[in-house]
């Protein structure tokens, strides 16, 4: 492992920002620390950077314990949430700052800054001050400033939070490309799952100072290990029970149920595609239909509970109040001990994924 945290603990007064956090990131990977606000993800990043000191545990970079190494000597580039560009310095001076501090030769500084400026595509704006740049341009400068001194590890604290939604998507792609181009191991903090899923190779889910799960985006989505992850990733409906649902009669009491939209299928009763499965069908009534741009989101009332499903625009027209056949392929069951997938008993032997 290139970067490793071992049993990190941190308290602010009574508030536990990090509870026994351990994980490792491989060289060259782009990892996301994902969690709701106040979950402690930024604290973990700052401990890794040396901006905060852990109460206990070890931080290792390249196999070396760096607990007592000051932040400036850990070989880390850091992009702050609001970029923290030096407001009274030009773009050029911002990028050159780290190099000047290292007492690099003037000529070399100039070359390196030029290289950075063309990398981020801001040629001609070197003389501008941060307040003369757009949000996206500022982020590019912050990125260039962080990597100019050639750090071994790049940390980014909510890199897209300060940018408006439209530019954000474009910048995400840009940043991912840049990081791949430079080939630097990177960790960023975000509260936006879409962002994490789209950009990161690995996602670390943090909640209340605990590391809930680590894995690839797909892995985390498909196999959530804890109730928190199951609810946090994807949009889901949480139910107290599935009382009376066909195929789920044997669910033990005390387990809660998470239903994702893709676990639910709603179709008209004359749809022959689902003929084999009619024994597992429940009746549902459409309560709301919301157009989500590329699909419809239907809310159905089934056996007294509300379920949500997505419907392709290519399929037949449906209306509010229409009776539909509803299939529940699978659900997540969870209690305080963990989460597990539970398939519909009646659909065993049918290859649902092939549909």
């Amino acid at each position: 492992m290139y970067v490793e945290l071992k049993n990190i603990n941190k308290k602010f007064g009574d508030y536990e920002a990090a509870k026994n956090i351990s994980f490792g990131i491989e060289q060259g990977k782009l990892a996301a620390l994902l969690g709701p606000s106040g979950s402690g993800k930024t604290t973990i990043l700052r401990i890794l950077a040396g901006l905060e000191q852990q109460d206990g545990g070890d931080v290792m970079i390249e196999g070396r314990v760096v607990n007592d190494v000051p932040a400036s000597e850990r070989g880390i580039g850091f992009v702050f949430q609001n970029y923290a560009l030096f407001r009274y310095m030009t773009v050029y001076d911002n990028i050159a700052f780290g190099l000047k501090v290292q007492k690099m030769e003037k000529q070399k500084i100039r070359e390196r800054v030029q290289e950075m400026v063309s990398l981020i595509g801001l040629e001609g704006l070197e003389k501008r001050y941060p307040n003369q740049l757009s949000g996206g341009q500022r982020q590019r400068v912050a990125f260039a400033r962080a990597i100019a001194p050639n750090p071994q590890l790049l940390l980014l604290d909510e890199p897209f939070a300060a940018i408006d939604a439209k530019v954000r998507k474009e910048l995400r792609r840009w940043l991912k490309e840049m990081i791949e181009k430079v080939g630097i191991t990177s960790i960023f903090v975000t509260h936006d799952q879409e962002e994490a899923v789209e950009v990161a190779d690995d996602i670390l889910i943090i909640n209340e100072g605990k590391l809930e799960q680590i894995g690839s985006p797909i892995d985390i989505y498909k196999n959530p290990k804890t109730p928190f992850v199951a609810q946090f990733i994807g949009t889901s409906v949480i139910l107290d029970s599935l009382l009376g649902f066909k195929g789920y009669e044997d669910i033990p009491n005390g387990k809660k149920v998470i239903v994702r939209p893709e676990f639910v299928e709603a179709f008209k009763s004359d749809n022959q595609k689902f003929a084999k499965m009619m024994n597992a069908v429940e009746e549902g009534v459409i309560e709301t239909i919301v157009f989500r741009g590329s699909y419809l989101e239907l809310t159905l009332r089934v056996k007294g509970v509300r379920l949500t499903t997505h419907r392709s625009l290519e399929r037949r027209h449906v209306e509010i109040g229409e009776k539909m056949c509803v299939l529940l392929y699978r659900v997540y069951l969870f209690d305080e001990n963990g989460a597990q997938i539970r398939k519909n008993e009646l659909l065993k032997g049918i290859d649902v994924e092939a549909l």
Binding site: A49, G50, L51, A71, S72, E73, I76, F78, F80, Q81, N82, A84, L85, F86, R87, Y88, M89, F97, G98, V101, Q102, Y129, P130, N131, R145, P149
Partner: protein, 311 residues
């Protein structure tokens, strides 16, 4: 007929005199309703201008008029009197030192309070502001009781003097005047800088520190550009208060012509009571009025430039 166009004061008068009274009342009510906003506006402006003239402008004119009451020649004589010149010198010394000391303190203390978290920070901030809420007379008193004849620190000072072969007294002397001036102006500069640094946050400094910059470099290159206007502003306020301080200095300065500042000289002239000396007091006052106005103008320039330079 009254509904058309603007209604002039004369129209109102005519209406009041000629027409029946009810119509007047009705129209007046309409007028008030329509124009109440304007009326309130001009009443408030009127109050403000009156207050401004009576409380702020008139006293300035009064000083000038009284200073010149005996003609230019005696005005000049009052300003060039030996006591006045000595007082001017002491005033300037005290002001320059107080501004310098408080600048150092203000920069260091505001850096400490805004860039670091530590236990007792609120208490420290409150302690720094103490001189604001204390009578200047108490400031003078405090120095007398520390360094005065029966003050507990007197032996310490005597010891130092003996060791260095010097003869510095910290009460009833120019150093005492300087100390008292420092006391009353102590928080002026830190108080201007602290809010600026609070809004600026710490991230720029953290970013610079992460890149390995030294404390001095960070301060000079990152922090200082943010506070230069605030600092200048604080220095101006500090200077204005320093050369005008009276109560604190009065307590620790007794020798006219030696340790008196301009305000003390004015007091001495005024209390002498004769018409001549009172005119002289106002003549010396006009000097301080001039200095005060210069400070006000500088303050406004700095404020304006500071706003424009906000990044």
């Amino acid at each position: 007929m009254y509904l058309r166009g603007k209604v002039s004061a004369k129209d109102w008068g005519d209406m009041y005199l000629q027409e029946n009274h009810d119509i007047f009342v009705e129209k007046w009510g309409d007028f008030m309703k329509k124009n109440s906003q304007k009326i309130v506006k001009w009443i408030l402006i009127g109050i403000s201008v009156l207050f401004f003239l009576l409380m702020l402008v008139l006293p300035l004119l009064e000083v000038i008029v009284r200073a010149l009451a005996d003609g230019l020649q005696s005005y000049q004589a009052a300003l060039t009197a030996e006591n006045t010149l000595s007082a001017l010198k002491v005033t300037l010394i005290a002001t320059v030192i107080a501004v310098a000391v408080n600048t150092v303190f203000g920069l260091v203390a505001s850096w400490l309070v805004t860039k670091f978290d530590f236990r007792g920070k609120n208490v420290l901030s409150a302690l720094i502001d103490i001189p604001f809420s204390i009578s200047p007379v108490i400031a003078g008193l405090a120095y007398i009781m520390t360094f005065g004849r029966s003050g507990w620190a007197k032996p310490v000072i005597d010891g130092i003097n003996e060791a260095l072969g010097t003869d510095i007294a910290l009460v009833f002397s120019v150093p005492a005047v300087v100390l008292a001036t420092i006391f009353v102006t102590f928080p002026f500069i830190s108080r201007e800088i602290i809010p600026v640094l609070y809004t600026q946050g710490r991230e720029e400094e953290e970013a610079a520190a992460m890149m390995g910059a030294s404390g001095f470099t960070i301060f000079r290159k990152i922090t200082f550009p943010h506070i230069r206007w605030g600092l200048l502003y604080g220095m101006i306020l500090c200077a204005a208060r320093a050369f005008g301080e009276f109560g604190a200095v009065y307590a620790v300065s007794k020798a006219r012509g030696k340790t008196f500042t301009l305000p003390l000289e004015i007091d001495a002239l005024y209390m002498a009571g004769s018409a001549d000396s009172i005119t002289q007091a106002f003549a010396v006052s006009s000097l301080l009025v001039g200095m005060a106005l210069i400070m006000l103008i500088l303050k406004n320039i700095v404020e304006y430039r500071g706003k424009r330079n906000d990044r």
